[in-house]
């Protein structure tokens, strides 16, 4: 057992660190939320990495992967978090991409993987429905075969950044008579197809991140179905497993804790930095310890994965603990900024136009806290993750 990096791994770290330093655009460095960015700005880092050939280190080499070891990938993620680079959108790279190269046919791989890699295609996820959240398999969006097309009717919700999407990977019901999980198919839908309407949902922090997507007699070529008809649940579950493994967010949380500490160093209580007070120092220490534990837990999962044991149900630990930590960091940031926590940073059309009171580090602390409540709801709510562990790991 050994947790330290080898000299080769240290050299790799230096290489990627200097690559990031030399190539990450300075004008993006000061902006951390997507709400402040245009579509092109969100994709800037993706395009730079694509050119370098580093956009999908977690893919097999034959599809564009880097061939890095699990440890190298870990280092890469750490270094990106350390430099606070823009997080790459997961919908193509981590969600539908692996589904396509695992379960798609050659034609589909040729057609869709290049656009995912280059970011010429923006993907969104058509999973949840108003009546199918935690119970995803109860989804009702219907696809009926009509010649060489499916005709799709239904209503998807919580579709992240669908306002920019070119494509949606979508779970549809193709056999309404079958048991819930057995009549589902996995379709790739061109968002320009007639009959698709995207309607924004504004969340309580004022952001427009999620949407409703209405599908009305949307004609989807049969060749856009992944794998077999009525076997879509298998691919959906594979994708959800990947979603969970990326969700721990350890490296980003480390950086967020650093930021929290710098806030608590600037904020004064009776003339003394807040971080020097027992009660706040103790809370930050607890958070760091929780994160250390999660980091090693994630490394253990990765190590198992590198021996061919793909992310199993224990990935739910990473989702639960990872999101609890992310939420706790934002909660403590609100505590740290004190009175200025109540200042609202304008969003949407108003963004950037108005006076924002308080030190820069306090801006958006509360909205960030509100926004992060989503993390224990999305990707399979934390209650569902508990169910998964109870059933699949503990055998209850």
């Amino acid at each position: 057992m050994d947790m330290s990096f080898s000299p080769e791994e240290m050299a790799f770290r230096d290489e990627v660190r200097s690559f990031i330093a030399d190539n990450y655009p300075q004008d993006l460095a000061n902006r951390r939320t997507r709400g402040e960015m245009t579509k092109e700005e969100i994709l800037t880092w993706h395009r730079i990495l694509y050119k370098k050939g580093w956009v999908v280190p977690h893919w097999p080499v034959e599809y564009g992967g880097t061939g890095w070891s699990i440890t190298q990938r870990f280092i890469w993620n750490e270094e990106n978090a350390r430099a606070e680079t823009q997080a790459l959108l997961p919908f193509g790279l981590s969600m539908v991409g692996p589904v396509i190269f695992n379960y798609g046919n050659e034609e589909q791989k040729k057609r869709f993987l290049p656009g995912i890699l280059s970011a010429d295609d923006w993907w969104c996820q058509g999973y949840s429905e108003p009546g199918a959240g935690s119970d995803l398999a109860s989804l009702k969006t219907r696809a009926v075969l009509d010649g060489d097309h499916y005709v799709v009717n239904g209503h998807k919700i919580w579709t992240t950044l669908a306002q920019y999407a070119d494509w949606m990977f979508c779970l549809v019901r193709t056999d309404p008579a079958a048991k819930a999980q057995e009549g589902i198919s996995f379709l790739l839908i061109d968002m320009k197809t007639p009959g698709i309407t995207v309607r924004p949902i504004i969340t309580m922090d004022g952001a427009h991140e999620v949407n409703e997507v209405f599908l009305e007699d949307v004609r989807v070529p049969v060749e856009n179905r992944i794998g077999e008809e009525n076997k879509g649940w298998t691919y959906a579950k594979f994708l959800l497993g990947n979603e969970r493994s990326g969700i721990a967010g350890v490296a980003r949380s480390k950086k967020a804790i650093e930021r929290l500490k710098s806030i608590a160093t600037a904020e004064l209580m009776d003339g003394q930095p807040l971080i020097k007070t027992d009660e706040f120092a103790r809370k930050v220490a607890e958070l760091e310890i929780d994160l250390s534990a999660l980091e090693v837990t994630e490394l253990r999962t990765l190590a198992a994965e590198s021996k061919g044991k793909g992310p199993g149900p224990e990935a739910s630990i990473l989702k639960i603990k990872g999101t609890e930590i992310q939420q706790r960091i934002t909660e403590l940031a609100v505590e740290a900024v004190g009175n200025y926590g109540s200042v609202e940073v304008p969003t949407g059309e108003m963004a950037g136009n108005d006076f924002v009171a308080g030190p820069a580090y306090s801006n958006g602390a509360a909205q960030n806290y509100f926004n992060m409540r989503k993390t224990s709801i999305y990707g399979g709510s934390n209650e569902i993750q508990h169910n998964i562990i109870a059933k699949m790991v503990l055998g209850l």
């Binding site: 949840s128 009546g131 199918a132 959240g133 935690s134 119970d135 109860s138 919700i157 919580w158 949902i201 504004i202 969340t203 309580m204 922090d205 004022g206 999620v210 904020e267 004064l268 209580m269 009776d270 003339g271 807040l274 009660e279 706040f280 909660e331 609100v334 505590e335 004190g338 009175n339 200025y340 926590g341 109540s342 200042v343 609202e344 304008p346 108005d354 006076f355 924002v356 009171a357 308080g358 030190p359 509360a366 909205q367 806290y369 509100f370 409540r373 989503k374 224990s376 709801i377 999305y378 709510s381 934390n382 209650e383 508990h386």
Partner: protein, 376 residues
């Protein structure tokens, strides 16, 4: 021992409930928050007409002779409807300073404007370096002939964009965090040298950053004795804490009701999600947090006139309970509503945001724990 309300108190609750049910539904509130003004002047006039703004003042001051319990009743109902109008700032805080610290002449000059709804007040006390310490002041008021000259900066002054009058704390002597040397002034917001920058808050209100640059006030602007203002400031902020506790109780009550209702109707896996034991226990914990908060709210409102140490423990204790319970109930209400709980459209997130901000007003859980543990 009797925790029941008098007939008059029940009537008061009924009348404010009737008004808010009729005229302050969630859609109306959303329009008010999004309006250029950010508050409803007609609603404020109706509050005045119903006598709500007169509730805690004595009859000789033109009031209804009510006390903390009447304020508590109003605040709970305001909490249920997420009322944004500056009742706490104007009636509880400015009214409190005038009732408890002002001369007869000052009361005669200012209370009628509060009662009839023509004057809105804000409380400019917090400073960027001071966090929640009411005595940590660098704003100064220097004796200048018969009056004073005020210089300094006040942060996050809630309700100030709507206010004509400000209650301002300033240092007339002593060092930055001395308990002695603090004085309380009435300042016209449009006085020469007062400049404001207004902005919205995350809970649908408005606030200002206020700079005071050589602002001249007369001797009649001073409330209470020069340099001895802190005790009064603490007493009035404890009254504000008692009022905010009641508001939080109103918010939590609505969240719990909405959450239980949602879990009874929302079906997943073929059953209402409220059938899942893990969620049942969660809602029981939310219910207990609410009941404990009701208890602390009654307690602090009954103890506002006790000796200082007793009052401070009651106020700090209530604020700790409200802070913890508000966070738990707010977070879990969002969680149990799932994605819907995250939306701007549903009221759940708005209650959660308000509860979050109530925790930071006048000192969060940590601050009040410390205050409680050091109260002599």
């Amino acid at each position: 021992m009797d925790f029941s309300f008098t007939e008059e108190q029940t009537l008061l609750r009924n009348s404010v409930q009737a008004l808010l049910n009729d005229k302050y539904d969630f859609d109306t509130r959303r329009k008010i928050v999004k309006s250029a003004d950010g508050m409803s002047k007609p609603m404020w006039a109706q509050f005045a007409e119903l006598g709500l703004l007169a509730a805690p003042f004595s009859e000789e001051q033109g009031g209804l002779g009510g006390g903390a319990i009447e304020t508590m009743i109003l605040m709970e109902e305001f909490g249920r409807h997420l009322v944004v109008e500056p009742f706490v700032e104007t009636v509880v805080i400015a009214g409190g300073f005038l009732r408890e610290g002002a001369t007869k002449a000052q009361q005669d000059a200012h209370i009628p404007g509060i009662v009839d709804g023509s004057a809105i007040w804000a409380f400019a006390y917090a400073e960027p370096q001071g966090r929640y310490n009411l005595a940590d002041l660098v704003t100064t008021a220097k004796k200048d002939g018969a009056g004073y000259t005020i210089n300094g900066y006040k942060a996050v002054v809630l309700g100030a964009p709507w206010a004509q009058k400000l209650i301002v704390t300033a240092r007339t002597s002593g060092g930055q965090r001395d308990r002695d040397g603090i004085s309380v002034f009435i300042v016209d917001k449009n006085a020469a040298g007062v400049s404001t920058r207004d902005y919205p808050t995350v809970d649908g209100r408005r606030a200002s950053e206020i700079t005071f640059e050589n602002v001249k006030v007369g001797a009649d602007a001073l409330i209470g004795a020069e340099g001895k203002g802190l005790a009064l400031v603490e007493k009035i902020t404890d009254q504000a804490i008692a009022a905010l506790s009641a508001e939080a109780v109103g918010c939590m009550g609505e969240l719990n009701k909405a959450t239980v209702e949602y879990c009874k109707t929302r079906k997943q896996f073929g059953v209402p999600i409220g059938k899942f034991q893990v969620l049942q226990h969660r809602m029981v914990d939310m219910f207990m947090a609410y009941e404990q908060s009701v208890s602390m709210t009654y307690m602090v409102n009954l103890k506002l006139e006790e000796a200082e140490a007793e009052r401070v423990k009651a106020a700090a204790g209530a604020k700790v309970q409200i802070g913890k319970a508000g966070r738990y109930v707010g977070q879990q209400a969002v969680q149990l509503h799932g994605g819907m709980g995250m939306t701007d459209e549903l009221n759940v997130g708005h209650y959660f945001k308000r509860l979050t901000m109530i925790d930071t007003q006048f000192g969060n859980v940590d601050h009040q724990l410390k205050r409680y543990s050091t109260a002599a």
